[in-house]
């Protein structure tokens, strides 16, 4: 398969990229990792006339923590960089748990977090993670730089609020004020498949009380769902089996799943609830069991909860052998 014909530019600075994007308007697309864009172009779902490849712009491949604890992820920071990041492992448990679950190891070598956010796939994992963490996207355009909250950034399936000529240059995760915990869980049929259900939970606690909570859902609606009521019910509370169950119920109620080849709506809603309980119950097994964690009863082999989970299923590609490959099932 071939993309349709396009003009290719590889600018060497953000300024040059913005000029090119402004000139191209709606017909221009940014190429970062290309792990969603190139497949879409090959299928002719996207036929941009101008490709602005930002891979030659120096200084965008960073992820770093500012002195105040703010985390910044540059537009060319690959999923693999995040997967192998010591900084994330020590400081950012939610992102660290999500990074190894993006697509597959080879795709992670090219794909980028910022590109994934821009792609705005309802089944994209990073959008949920960044939403739960209360993150922003920084965009630069002819009119200057603006900061867009994740809630305002994704405007619909595969649609973002970048104006023509604007380039997303980094994602920003604000510093946690309390003790940060949480994680990302993803149910997938096989490595590299889109999420059947994904749940991101970010929790800040101080003295045993939740001071901030974010819960966001992947794959159970027309776009990433921020389960604000579920998160809100935790704030000011201690984590107990009752508060965990209340939050899980509200998160499940916020989901808008549809029955499809990955499962029924009821199943997906149930998994949202289970994942919320599971993440919130880490290190507190009793609370989890009392809140109704259905681990085991559901057959845990399908759940990829991290490196050991994915590798422990007997075969790295065990799911793939009976899953069948669908076209362009990729994360950005």
């Amino acid at each position: 398969m071939y993309p349709s014909r396009f003009r290719y530019e590889a600018p060497r600075s953000v300024g040059e990229a913005i000029s090119l994007l402004s000139e191209g308007g709606d017909d221009a697309k940014v190429l970062a990792g290309g792990q969603s864009l190139v497949p879409l172009m090959k299928l002719r779902f996207a036929s941009p006339e101008l490709i602005v490849d930002i891979n030659n712009i120096p200084g965008l491949d960073y992820h770093r923590e500012d002195a105040d604890g703010t985390m910044r992820i540059g537009a060319l920071c690959r999923h693999a960089d995040l997967e192998h990041s010591a900084l994330l492992l020590s400081k950012q448990p939610v992102m660290a748990s999500a990074a190894p679950l993006i697509a597959d190891p080879i795709v992670r070598n090219r794909g980028t977090l910022v590109g994934s956010l821009c792609h705005a796939d309802p089944q994209g994992d990073w959008a949920s993670v960044v939403t739960a963490l209360g993150g922003h996207v920084v965009a630069r355009g002819p009119g200057g730089t603006r900061v867009i909250s994740m809630a305002d950034f994704v405007t619909g399936p595969f649609q973002n609020s970048l104006a023509p000529g604007e380039l997303a240059i980094e994602a920003v995760i604000p510093a946690a004020k309390g003790n940060l915990s949480g994680g990302y869980l993803k149910l997938e049929r096989r490595v590299g498949d889109f999420a059947t259900v994904g749940v991101a939970v970010a929790l800040e606690t101080a003295d045993g009380t939740v001071t901030r909570a974010g819960i966001a859902l992947t794959g159970v609606g027309g776009s990433t769902i921020s389960a604000t009521e579920a998160a809100g019910t935790l704030v000011g509370q201690a984590l107990t089996s009752q508060t965990i169950a209340a939050a899980a119920d509200l998160a499940a109620a916020a989901a808008r799943p549809r029955t499809d080849h990955r499962g029924t709506a009821e199943y997906k809603r149930h998994m949202v609830r289970t994942f919320v309980v599971r993440i919130l119950s880490r290190g507190d097994g009793e609370a989890g069991q009392a809140a109704g964690d259905t681990r085991g009863a559901n057959g845990d082999s399908a759940v990829t909860g991290g490196r050991s989970g994915a590798a422990g299923g007997g075969s790295a590609n065990g799911g793939a052998a009976n899953g069948g490959g669908s076209d362009a099932e990729r994360a950005a």
Binding site: M1, Y2, P3, S4, R5, F6, R7, Y8, A10, L31, G34, Q35, V38, P39, M41, K42, L43, I51, D53, N55, A80, A103, D104, P105, I106, V107, N109, R110, V191, G192, R307, S308, A310, A311, G312, S315, A316, N317, G318, A320, A321, G325, S326, D327, A328, E329, R330
Partner: protein, 173 residues
């Protein structure tokens, strides 16, 4: 190097954008003139005649087309050839010397790591990157590293054994 396109009469030849790129493939420096929409996999197979890199799904799923770009495994059906400009590519043809098999190739032979062999080049390139980074991987680590490469014959058991065989051999060298 020339790549010939169908003339469907619907586009003026002068409008076809062509970019000149310089890159290294299996240690050899090359210059190519490519249409930006040419995929890296097609540059390798058709432009360079290196047909060891296989096109499987053409949809970023299967990993048969995996090559190393600056040492990192990449699905070459999902990268534009023009993006190879200034970079170093390694394909399965770059594994062996004049007569000796690379330990990975030997491992796949010794442990029967292939049946139809279609996925094998991608498997070996992904494995090569793993062993460069981690010379003593566990079985789980091998499975994890190969989870972006699909095989429809072997059930993966012997592929994993082959990579572990190669790791032993490489450590002994």
């Amino acid at each position: 190097m020339t790549i010939v396109y169908e003339d469907r009469g619907d586009e003026a030849t002068g409008d076809v954008p062509i970019n000149r790129i310089k890159f290294t493939i299996n240690g050899q420096k090359k210059i190519a003139e490519v249409e930006p929409r040419l995929l890296l996999s097609h540059l390798i197979r058709r432009g360079l005649g290196l047909t060891g890199t296989h096109m499987g799904c053409d949809t970023t799923n299967c990993g048969a087309c995996t090559v190393l770009v600056d040492g990192r495994p990449v699905k070459s059906c999902t990268m534009l050839a023009v993006q190879a400009d200034g970079h170093s590519i390694e394909t399965v043809e770059g594994l062996s010397g004049q007569s000796e098999l690379h330990p990975l190739q030997e491992g796949f032979k010794q442990e029967h790591g292939l049946q139809c062999g279609f996925c094998t080049p991608g498997m070996m390139m992904a494995a090569k990157a793993l062993l460069a980074e981690n010379p003593s991987p566990t079985e789980d680590e091998v499975r994890w590293a190969l989870s972006g490469n699909l095989c429809r014959c072997t059930g993966y058991q012997n592929i994993v054994k082959s990579v572990l065989w190669a790791a032993d051999k490489l450590r002994a060298e």
